[in-house]
């Protein structure tokens, strides 16, 4: 903490100090409004009727709260020719995200464990290759991946999307676990080996019990990434297997009929709820994942 505002040597009068504090809080409050405003507008718009929206005041509270838009967004809004709301796509996103998160986290944990604790010739090269893969723009693998999914017979299916998310999530999950396990003294592994414990035994009874924080960080990171993904979702799905982000975009951009802004907003909030929920209950771990990718170690 850099305690600069209570600097006794500066000899400010209490009144000046007070004024400075007020300006400070005012500024912080204004920025808070900037960040909250879109969420507020989304929420109030979703609770208004279309007639009220047409009077054109973004920031007013709804005169009459109605949940019609939410009902429509959930079960009858049109994403093109289908009109089933976002519900089936919300489910798709869950069906994609849950297995993909579990598999990529598990494999990342094992990879990280090997790279950090069982150093052998080439392990570092493997890690560098893996790390590099985190940074490629996915556009560069889009075309061959589309063909590969076709060859594998999973084009446009949910297992296909799970597969894609696992593969391109491995770089980050390996990175997270590697950086975590590298700080655990290798003497631990050596001692266990002397005692006759094998590779998996050491992982299972020594490393895994120590791993809860990094598992939480990784699961949250992967879940947020996969839930919020649009590029893979729009490229590798077909009608019926689209994730919720693609469905949301289709609802908003569907040109048939009257533009229902309240339904758009309700659908957007529904699509955002799972990751917002994770952020609210486990924000600390969310931020750790975000910063782990950039400020390593």
């Amino acid at each position: 903490m850099t305690d600069l505002s209570y600097n006794p040597s500066r000899g400010q009068s209490p009144a000046t100090k007070m004024a400075l504090r007020i300006v400070l809080y005012l500024l912080l409050g204004l920025f808070a409004l900037f960040y909250l405003m879109p969420l507020f507008v989304m929420l109030t718009t979703s609770l208004k009727s279309l007639d009220e929206i047409r009077t054109g005041d973004l920031v007013s509270l709804p005169r009459e709260v109605t949940f019609d838009a939410w009902r429509t967004a959930w079960s009858t809004a049109c994403t093109g020719i289908q009109c089933e709301g976002v519900r089936p796509y919300f489910l798709n996103s869950l069906l994609i995200a849950i297995p993909a998160v579990m598999i990529s986290t598990l494999v990342g944990a094992l990879n990280g464990y090997v790279v950090a604790q069982w150093r052998f010739k080439g392990a570092n090269i493997f890690f560098a290759l893996m790390l590099f893969g985190c940074f490629i723009p996915f556009q560069v693998v889009l075309l061959p991946m589309a063909r590969m999914l076709g060859i594998m017979g999973v084009a446009g299916t949910i297992p296909g999307l799970i597969f894609v998310h696992v593969i391109y999530g491995l770089g980050f999950t390996t990175l997270f676990f590697r950086n975590y396990y590298v700080s655990i003294p290798s003497e631990l592994t050596k001692a266990a080996k002397v005692d006759g414990a094998g590779f998996f035994r050491i992982f299972w009874s020594i490393f895994l019990p120590l791993s809860l924080p990094i598992i939480v960080v990784t699961v949250i990171w992967q879940f947020t990434q996969i839930w919020n993904d649009f590029l893979f979702g729009v490229s590798f799905s077909q009608a019926g297997t689209q994730p919720v982000t693609v469905a949301l975009n289709n609802i908003v951009n569907s040109t048939t009929g009257v533009k229902e802004y309240n339904v758009d907003m309700a659908a957007a909030i529904i699509a955002a709820l799972p990751t917002l929920f994770v952020y609210v209950v486990a924000g600390k771990y969310f931020i750790r994942g975000l910063t782990a990718g950039s400020v390593k170690g």
Partner: protein, 290 residues
Amino acid sequence: MTRWLQDNMPKIVLAPSFIIVMVFVYGFIAWTAWVSLTRSRLMPRYEIDSFIQYERLAASPRFETAMVNLAIFGTLFIVIAMVLGLLLAILLDQKIRTEGAIRTIYLYPMALSMIVTGTAWKWILNPELGIEATVQGWGFAGFEFGWLVDPDKAIYTVVIAAIWQSSGFVMALFLAGLRSVDEEIIKAAQVDGIPTWRVYSAIIIPSMAPIFLSAFIVLAHLAIKSFDLVIALTGGGPGYATDLPATYMYAMAFSRGDIGQAASSAMVMMLVVFAIVVPYLYSELRTKDD
């Protein structure tokens, strides 16, 4: 046999991931690079035929727009997000009682999908019923804010939404940096009567150089990969006024059926990313190995 298995278990465990990375990352990059040198259109062809696709890219006004947009968007997004993030971090570093809550508010957009962000801002910025109409309704009849539908200005709406989404994250990075500066030095400076702004500009901020670099890398990376935000906010329009290389690539690959152009534009994107990331990764890995 079991002995061999025991000894080689680490390699056996790593093998599938190794194969996957070699095929699905490096093999696929090689495939795209190869196809970018052919005359592929609707179907990929494999006879190498010079740099024809890159010449077509260079001659394409649409791709030029995309690259210019990337430069405008990337520069503004990175600079403003860094300045704003640093400012917020410094403001929050003054023993604010409600710091936890404020930080949560500043950072939550980072948890949202770009599609959600784009949808929200598209609604807020739409001229008929959004901010423009709202401010007019307050009595400012002459107020105009039609950037979203103005081909010359639409790219700036993408900047606004992207900054809204990511600046809180930059703040979190900088805040962690401010907290890691050696307190003794700061105290010593204060005892010497050095004014607060000098303490920041001469001591604290220069010592955070690595964090500036990290923030820059992350933001640059986000900017180049930006795809969903443009799709949700402007759909690349009006016309193709807000196209970025990422949306150009997607349009060529999936709606225009021009695989050669898709592959070559993807390669350009990758080269831009690597020009930024490779020196950074290289220095990171080198210091790690010591």
